[in-house]
Symmetry: C2
Subunit: 446 residues, 2 copies
């Protein structure tokens, strides 16, 4: 029998780690404990499953415990790990029936993910107020919509999930108000870029309340009735609380595993924690940000899958390294796409860089093609070295994958001038002869 490997958390990073470890080493004994009732699901699909664009919430599940069992991976859902003890190399686990047991590991992979932030506000536990993180959350939201037929929805938080959920609820004809504490939606973007997204929300009849902090919720046992924010009482029969997540580091901290400056678990490029034999990956862990050269915590499904695979390869006896992130992300908000990679101008200044920035608006297709749409591109670069620090892009088509060329430039530390020299694809239905990315980069050249 090979070593016994315990994986705590069975979503993106955890199941990637288990699967890769299995492919590397058929001798390993692989056990996964997952607190919720599901593993191996694409959490990013939940808004589309709630919207009904994906028929069933369960359609986002990639593989079931039974399918993993056939690969020799024992998956225990409904099993919460309560404690990790590095000294005895054991975990304390609570079964669905409430009973507890200890299990031993030779290697431990912590993929406990992120936890939805639930600010301690009056009325927070009223029925009809939801966060969205698990299959159970998504099922509950969809059931609430189908049974209660809410007319007025409030989204608290204008980040990715907030925008996606605004679109999802609006598809039911629910009138949406979006409340954001900050003076803009999508705080990862610079304000003037985010303003384009806000305009799209308003075109879609979403009422956007910026600089409003939620003070509480009112209602009764039938459900939430209103959201109180900035002294205003905003009617609501469904509330989505999407004010962010924090890394789920409770187990790790109690076990003495070192956290990094971001508050997530510190890992090296092999996904090792500071405790030998304990690995971490996914939303619970930091990642090297290649632009700043420092650890960052940007919880995304792509990073979780990659880190999980690296951890799994190393658990299985390999020597894989994770080369880091540049913070690439894209979100669909109704008919709009907003993408970014690297640092915003605001963030770059906060990080201490001396920054220059250029903005261009160019067409998604050749100017003479019907259906062409404006794409707004912003590039941020270091004044002296001209090294690209970040890029942002918004528009109603051609944005999501166009950001990737900026991600490539950031990954490799190119200057904005090098970005402008690329031989990018062109055909009238897909791009103008000068791609919007090149238009922006060439503005920086002057």
């Amino acid at each position: 029998m090979g070593e016994r490997v315990i994986v705590v958390g069975g979503v993106a990073a955890g199941m990637s780690a288990a699967s890769k470890a299995r492919r590397m080493n058929s001798e390993l004994e692989l056990v996964v404990y997952e607190r919720s009732g599901y593993v191996s699901y694409g959490a990013c699909g939940f808004p589309y499953a709630i919207k009904g664009e994906i028929p069933q919430v369960r359609d986002v599940v990639v593989r079931t415990p039974e399918q993993f069992a056939k690969q020799g991976i024992k998956v225990h859902v409904g099993h919460e790990v309560l404690a990790v003890d590095p000294a005895t190399k054991s975990v304390l686990v609570r079964r669905p029936d409430g009973s507890e047991f200890r299990d031993q590991w030779d290697q431990l992979v912590l993929t406990t993910g992120g936890v939805s932030i639930r600010p301690p506000l009056p009325g927070l536990d009223l029925p009809g107020i939801f966060t969205l993180r698990t299959v159970e959350d998504a099922l509950a939201i969809r059931e609430w919509i189908e049974t209660k037929k809410p007319q007025r929805g409030v989204i608290v938080g204008g980040g990715y999930i907030g925008l996606e959920m605004a679109e999802a609820l609006a598809a039911y004809g629910i009138g949406i108000a979006l409340i954001e504490r900050l003076p803009q939606v999508l705080p990862n973007l610079d304000h003037e870029i985010a303003a384009h997204v806000q305009a799209e929300l308003e075109r879609q009849h979403v009422s956007v309340w910026l600089e409003h902090a939620v003070e509480g919720f009112a209602g009764d046992t039938n459900g939430v009735r209103e959201v109180i924010a900035g002294g205003q009482h905003i009617p609501a029969d469904i509330v989505i609380l999407s004010v962010g997540i924090r890394p789920g580091v409770g187990l790790a901290r109690e076990a003495g595993i070192a956290l990094g400056p971001t508050g997530a678990i510190a890992v090296d490029d092999h996904q090792r924690t500071n405790v030998p034999g304990i690995w971490a990956a996914g939303d619970v862990a930091e990642a090297l940000h290649r632009v700043t050269g420092r650890p960052a915590w940007i919880p995304l499904g792509t990073t979780a899958n990659k880190q999980g695979r690296v951890a799994g390869e190393n658990v299985g006896g390999g020597n894989a390294t994770f080369k880091g992130i540049v913070g690439t992300a894209v979100v669909k908000a109704f008919d709009y796409e907003a993408a970014s990679s690297g640092l915003s101008e605001a963030r770059a200044r906060a990080e201490g860089y001396t920054v220059e920035a250029v903005s261009a608006t160019a067409s998604s297709r050749a100017h003479y093609m019907p259906g062409h749409q404006p794409i707004h591109v912003k590039l941020v670069y270091e004044a002296e070295t001209r090294r690209l620090l970040g890029g942002q892009m918004v528009g109603s088509e051609g944005v999501a994958k166009r950001i990737d060329v900026i991600a490539a430039a950031l990954h490799n530390g190119w200057t904005v001038d090098e970005l402008g020299e690329l031989d990018l694809s062109y055909a009238p239905p897909f791009a103008p002869v000068w791609d919007p990315v090149l238009v922006a980069a060439n503005l920086a050249r002057r």
Copy 2:
């Protein structure tokens, strides 16, 4: 008065050069001679103008001679340059009325473009047989369609223009046969990738005749009636001859300007020819291919615009350089997108590389999203160094701009492994969590 600059050819490269030279130096005297009746047009838009997707052929014209005149650029359409004499720094020009004159230059920019190949076949001059290169060609094709209402069209040549014109004619309900001398369409792609495009053509009711050489055309003064190919008589009331172009180097060759190994004008990275004071750019010139490190002739609008701008900047007293191409191209063929960058496997082997290749089929969106489509990706890399040599991609969505990340990798000489480490964008409507490019790159890793 500043120096007198003559630009020969007023399409993409020529007008880019003239405009950039003007912005650099307001003292220059700038004169453009263009043989056809139009300048500054997006020739790549012609198929869409013929199709009717763009209302009028003239809509692809970016700026008119009158508009250039306001910038102080004198544009003479219908003026053909007959000879270039470096010894006297003069050109011989024929006016629209047939009279000729000499004009003097201090600097000369040759942007004479490409010339449609017209193989010397019997019946080639029958009415209804067209090549597509100029505004006049596009107008003539559209007029033929509107007045003659052809029922059966034959496309000769399965390259980019052939496929675009198949789509354009099919939009009128014209039944299309496509005849290609080679055993595949899109010879820049490897055969198994091109086969996906061929399947799409056949789904669209295009009859594809591979390995058939056209032997001639039959008809009468009313027009072409049939195309003879491989002994078959194929009925046709319109024929598009799209068997390629050659560089329009006649003037340059007669003037003693050096051509390169490809037969196009040899230029350095400043767009200088071997004759001081004479520059060349666009489809008439070579470009450094960054993958092979050697000059290549890949005539495309993007390269023409970039080279023209570099030439113009240098003509205007600047010191610009063109960093070269990687051969990125994309074509829309009905509902399909086919893109490539760098070398195909066949081409790489022909160039003498020891090659490995991987192919993957992955989804354009998250697997659970409705409407997701397969994308077929092929990556070609050097066996020993693992340096990426090329990438190809086909599918019905998400291909055109996805190729750009491969173009970036090729531009910089990355290995296939480095390509696989990129932090690419992800959201369920736009990509799976492992982007198709990463899926393919990771296959190469094993």
